[in-house]
Symmetry: C2
Subunit: 200 residues, 2 copies
DNA sequence: GCAGCCGTCTTGACAGTGTCTAGTTTCCGT
DNA sequence: ACGGAAACTAGACACTGTCAAGACGGCTGC
């Protein structure tokens, strides 16, 4: 308890010091914020630095370059994504719910999601990114009832993934009517039902 | 015949003149080329201008700004997209083929496709873009057997669109194994078959 | 046939961008 | 207490998109 207080005090007071304390974390948060406001294309590294209250070159020290920062965001996103999918699967045990969680994540963590599937913005060979993205792929395969060694070649697995991903992408891009936006998870379940991919 | 020759000769010889002749067309082509090489995020208006052999500010005159150029590319893309979907539908009359055409288009016209569904890069209120995108949406609804007044709210229509779109996006982003890349249309048909969305 | 207009394109400038280098500040192990 | 290493700053560079002003040339009205 004493430790907790100590650490909190340190983190707070540390903000205006030369050594930030946890600048890496702060930069990721600032990047997520900025992406949430302006989209990933318009993201400026200098604006992120300013938001975190550090000099314009500080991000490069922690992430190498712009793609490095986005890679860190994507990796964090994939980890939370895997958590969400696993949670939905263990709670309900059917694909409808996992797919709905897929869509829900895209909406609630839009900034992360908009970066996660953009290879040209990332360092695709980053170990953390690879680990996290494999983790969420596995969670999804489990959730679509297509677990196993050759899940990648399984038509059912590809169908489940494509359906959820396409739904999420089209939704975020503004291609769906109001009714879908009002109840995205319900809409997705209706869509999944229309494909007989329902329970798996 | 004489006219054709005359026009061709004019277009060719006109390239190095002060008045380009069809700079608008040339800039769109150059943009598509550049996007195909470097992706949409790294697209530089100045690089496009250089590629077309004109000054760096020439694009702005025809398209207003960068988003204007991309909007023109997207509109052209949606028109060709609608053509392709309509062709597949009238030729075969089933959804499998229309979905396969969806995927085929994303691969063959990757540069167009990568721009078409990125609202933050476009002027979404551009009349040409709206017209063309509505056209391809209608073609798709026809192709998924969900034509009619309330097609947008039809779960089956959303399912078909989501499936094809998700498959295409995931494929382009490099998330599918080699086997899928070798025969994308066949893979999609197998995926569609797994959903009971097969014939419509 | 030719004067002038207007659309087409160029030139130059500006603020903002990512990234590199060198330098300054601070922490931490000894 | 001190020396090395890590964290961060400051300045510079080439490049970006956009804007204003000007140069050019095809077309229309006479």
């Amino acid at each position: 308890m004493i430790d907790t207080v100590k650490i909190r005090a340190r983190v707070v007071s540390v903000t205006d010091r030369y050594h930030h304390g946890d600048l890496r974390r702060a930069l990721i948060d600032a990047a997520v914020e900025a992406v949430g406001e302006t989209g990933p294309s318009a993201l400026s590294l200098r604006a992120v630095a300013k938001r975190a209250g550090v000099s314009h070159a500080a991000p490069a020290h922690h992430f190498g370059d712009k793609a490095g920062l986005l890679t860190a965001v994507a990796a964090e996103g994939f980890d939370r994504f895997a958590d969400a999918l696993e949670r939905a699967w263990t709670a309900t045990g059917d694909f409808d719910a996992v797919g709905a969680a897929y869509v829900r994540f895209a909406i609630d963590h839009r900034a992360h999601f908009e970066i996660m599937f953009r290879p040209e913005l990332l360092h695709m060979d980053d170990p953390d990114l690879v680990r996290a993205s494999v983790r969420s792929r596995e969670a999804l395969h489990r959730g679509s009832g297509t677990d196993g060694p050759d899940a990648a070649f399984n038509a059912r697995a590809l169908a489940a993934w494509s359906l959820a991903h396409g739904f999420a992408e089209l939704l975020l891009a503004g291609n769906f009517p109001r009714a879908v936006l009002d109840d995205p998870e319900g809409a997705f379940k209706a869509v999944a039902a229309a494909t007989a991919l329902g329970r798996g």
